[in-house]
């Protein structure tokens, strides 16, 4: 356990890179980028060693905490907050994914941001801070420190999306991302407060310990509220409906930032939060239904918007939202099954498969989405436009890029043996399992299957529009990206091919990576699925349904955008165009937000302004006016004639004397 003891260093190492880049960035090449690359690589090494030690260990969570804030005991509750690290299966898995991806993305940045000049130093400093946020969130030992790192990520997303802040659209997108995720942040804070109110602690190792929980008289309402708030936080951070609209706009940042936000960090933090809180959430079936429904709906809803978008990055952005929806769908379905299973061991196992599917998809998606984004970055780097209509025929010029992007597209579309297939199939399987418990879940299954079709379609539409067809004007000057950019792409492409096969690991494999919940509520390592699962998989009908859907989607895209024998103009003409327009306008969500902002928030602000100016100030002014008015009357008494004053004094003294004579015993 040599490295595990230093887990707390992992988030701090990028900070060293940050400081070096900030101090010497002006004088060193690439704006100090090499410092950050080095620091992130070291952090990656430590992360991998920690993960290795954990997987070769006995599987029980390793943690160490130290007191951070001690407010003493107030009304019988000990207000003591700790900081430290907590490593379990989920942490170890996330450490591997996040640290590898961050390293590759930062290396890629060396090539992609090469032409940025002076601003590079700021870029590397901010990106190092961002990586600190995600790694810190992953290794944090309690919700409060996790929240701190969560907020760091929120700040960095604002800074990085608005990296080209002189562009009004980028500045606007940054503000939108920050404000929208802020709603989730507030929800997270409320959840933390409620959880502390319910249990008096925020430490994972206590909260996830069934004996500790059972020793409490749990207030179910409070727990439900806390869990709903946590999911609300995930909705904000992971861009789920109805807080999804910031994510497509976040494409205004550099592509590397998009890759970082969408693949490795930020949006994954929301999924991680739900997966992390899973042992608590499985006690609340209502929350699980909410998660499954929101996830399933978002998956479908976002995929529709990707269908006719022409911006290469925005298509990927919508697919990110959609895939995150898949993860939540899996987590929600699995959790719902566990929540309703009682002590039925078979159902518990099925539920765990749902949880595993969600986390597995998180990992697979991280790799292939990073691959897709970075490939898109290479394309943009080559043709200097994001509009797919101006691309086309790039496959001859960008051989490596087109190949790796094809792998990414196959992975996300769900074609075996690429990674996306395995996890997506597990997700659909767990949806069916949930539907067998509660038949309403069939709706979610159908939505997910249709989404799988749409995913395959829009991904191959993207690929064919970009790389095939007539060679566009932009393609003439295009040239392959430098090695510092395509090397990470190749690594990611290999990962996209093989991460799915982790399921089949000889002993252990991925299922052992994921903890499961025993009937007593204990967190224990799961059983390996093994080769038997493959056999089961390919003899079950849902596999073929989703495969058919994916092939069908690819086929339509092939006919419409490569062979051009199938015309999809039908949807963009006449009265059919309404649907098309609704999708193009993103279901009028930006307008809706503007409406809420203008009518709702501005109206509220005006009401507050009215109350402040008229009511609060009014009361103060009224009191002052009464004082002025009365004194205006009474000051006439001040005549300035000495003798009037003297007369008043004499009269008053006389009256006092008479009263004293009459009532007091002074005689």
């Amino acid at each position: 356990m040599t490295f595990t003891e230093y887990t707390w260093l992992i988030p701090l190492i990028p900070i060293i890179g940050l400081l070096l880049a900030a101090a010497f960035g002006k004088k060193t090449p690439e704006g100090g980028g090499y410092f950050v690359v080095g620091a992130v690589a070291v952090a990656c090494f430590v992360s991998l060693m920690v993960a290795y030690e954990f997987f070769t260990g006995d599987g029980s969570p390793v943690y160490d905490t130290t007191i951070w804030i001690d407010l003493g005991t107030i009304n019988g509750t000990q207000y003591q907050f700790e900081m430290g690290y907590y490593v379990d299966y989920l942490t170890a898995l996330l450490l591997i994914v996040v640290s590898i991806l961050c390293t590759l993305i930062v290396i890629y940045s060396l090539g992609y941001m090469h032409e940025e000049g002076e601003r590079k130093r700021r870029y590397y400093v901010e990106i190092a801070l961002f990586i600190t946020g995600m790694l810190g969130m992953v290794v944090a030992s309690n919700y409060l420190t996790a929240f701190v790192f969560w907020e760091i990520m929120g700040l960095c997303s604002y800074l990085l999306i608005g990296f080209w802040y002189y562009k009004p659209s980028a500045a606007k997108a940054a503000k939108k991302a920050f404000l929208t995720t802020r709603i989730g942040d507030i929800s997270f804070m409320l959840g933390i407060i409620a959880l502390f109110g319910a249990f008096g602690t925020l430490n994972y190792h206590e909260l996830f310990n069934p004996e500790f929980i059972e020793s409490f008289e749990v207030n179910y309402g409070l727990l439900l509220f806390a869990m709903l708030c946590f999911f609300g936080a995930a909705v904000g951070k992971s861009a789920q409906f109805p807080l999804h609209d910031w994510l497509p706009d976040a494409m205004e940042g550099p592509t590397t930032v998009s890759a970082l936000i969408h693949a490795a960090t930020m949006v994954k933090a929301g999924v991680y939060l739900v997966a992390r809180s899973f042992p608590l959430m499985v006690d609340t079936p209502e929350v699980m239904i909410v998660i499954a429904v929101v996830g399933g709906f978002t998956a479908f809803f976002a995929a529709t918007q990707a269908l006719n978008n022409f911006n290469i990055k925005r298509v990927l952005a919508y697919s990110t939202i959609s895939q995150l929806g898949f993860m939540f769908l899996a987590l929600g379905c699995g959790g719902y099954i566990i929540a309703t299973a009682g002590t039925d061991e078979h159902l518990l196992e099925v539920g765990n498969a749902g949880y595993m599917a969600g986390v597995f998809h998180l990992m697979n998606h991280a790799f292939f989405k990073a691959l897709l984004f970075l490939s898109a970055g290479a394309v943009i780097h080559a043709v200097h436009t994001e509009d797919m209509r101006k691309m086309g025929g790039l496959s001859k010029k960008l051989k490596i890029t087109s190949l790796v992007m094809l792998i990414g597209a196959l992975a996300i579309a769900g074609i075996p043996p690429f990674s996306g297939f395995w996890s997506k199939d597990l997700i659909l399987e767990s949806t069916i399992a949930a539907a067998e418990v509660n038949s309403w879940f069939w709706i979610l299954y159908i939505a997910a299957t249709v989404t799988a079709f749409m995913t395959a379609f829009y991904m191959f539409r993207l690929w064919f529009m970009t790389f095939k067809g007539e060679e566009s004007e932009a393609a003439h000057h295009a040239h392959e990206a430098p090695a510092v950019m395509w090397a990470p792409l190749v690594v990611l492409a290999i990962a996209a091919c093989i991460t799915g096969l982790f399921l089949l690991g000889p002993d252990g494999g991925l299922p052992a990576v994921i903890y499961t919940v025993s009937p007593e509520g204990n967190a224990i390592p799961g059983e390996t699925l093994g080769l038997g699962w493959i056999e089961k998989l390919f003899t079950a009908w849902p596999t073929y349904v989703s495969l058919a859907m994916a092939t069908f989607g690819i086929g339509i895209a092939y006919l419409a955008y490569y062979k051009k024998t199938l015309s999809l103009d039908f949807f963009a003409k006449g009265s059919n165009r309404k649907v098309y327009d609704v999708l193009q306008r993103r279901y009028y969500f930006p307008e809706f937000y503007d409406f809420v902002g203008e009518k709702g928030m501005y109206g509220l602000a005006r009401l507050v302004d009215f109350i402040d100016r008229k009511v609060v100030d009014g009361v103060v002014n009224a009191i002052a006016n009464v004082a002025v008015g009365t004194s205006g009357r009474f000051r006439k008494a001040q005549t300035g004639f000495t003798q009037t004053y003297a007369a008043v004094i004499v009269a008053a003294v006389s009256v006092i004397l008479v009263l004293l004579y009459l009532f007091a015993e002074v005689r």
């Binding site: 001040q638 005549t639 300035g640 004639f641 000495t642 003798q643 007369a647």
Partner: protein
């Protein structure tokens, strides 16, 4: 021996005359004189009580009071002199600068 009440009555009458004058007369010098009358009414009371209760304290106070009255008149006359110089009048009904 003249009874104590007579002295006290004299003091009260003098005080009333002084107060009436101070409140009604228009000339500031006359008002100042009226104030002197009131002070002397108080002195009569001091002395009366001193004699009838047998102590010397009252008489000493009366002497103090006379000294203070002298000082006060000096200040009062100085003010009136300045008033005459600046405002050309010492009629009290014309002096109402200290009003609203």
């Amino acid at each position: 021996m003249i009874p104590q009440e007579y002295f006290l009555a004299l003091g009260a009458i003098l005080f009333a005359i002084g107060a009436f004058g101070a409140l009604t007369r228009k000339n500031a010098i006359v008002v100042l004189m009226c104030i002197e009358i009131m002070l002397n009414a108080a002195n009569i009371n001091f002395v009366t009580f001193a004699v009838f209760s047998g102590g010397a304290a009252g008489q000493v106070f009366a002497l103090f009071s006379i000294a203070i009255a002298a000082a006060e008149v000096a200040i009062g006359l100085a003010i009136l002199l300045n008033l005459q110089k600046l405002q050309d009048t010492i009629e009290l009904q014309d002096l109402n600068l200290l009003r609203w």
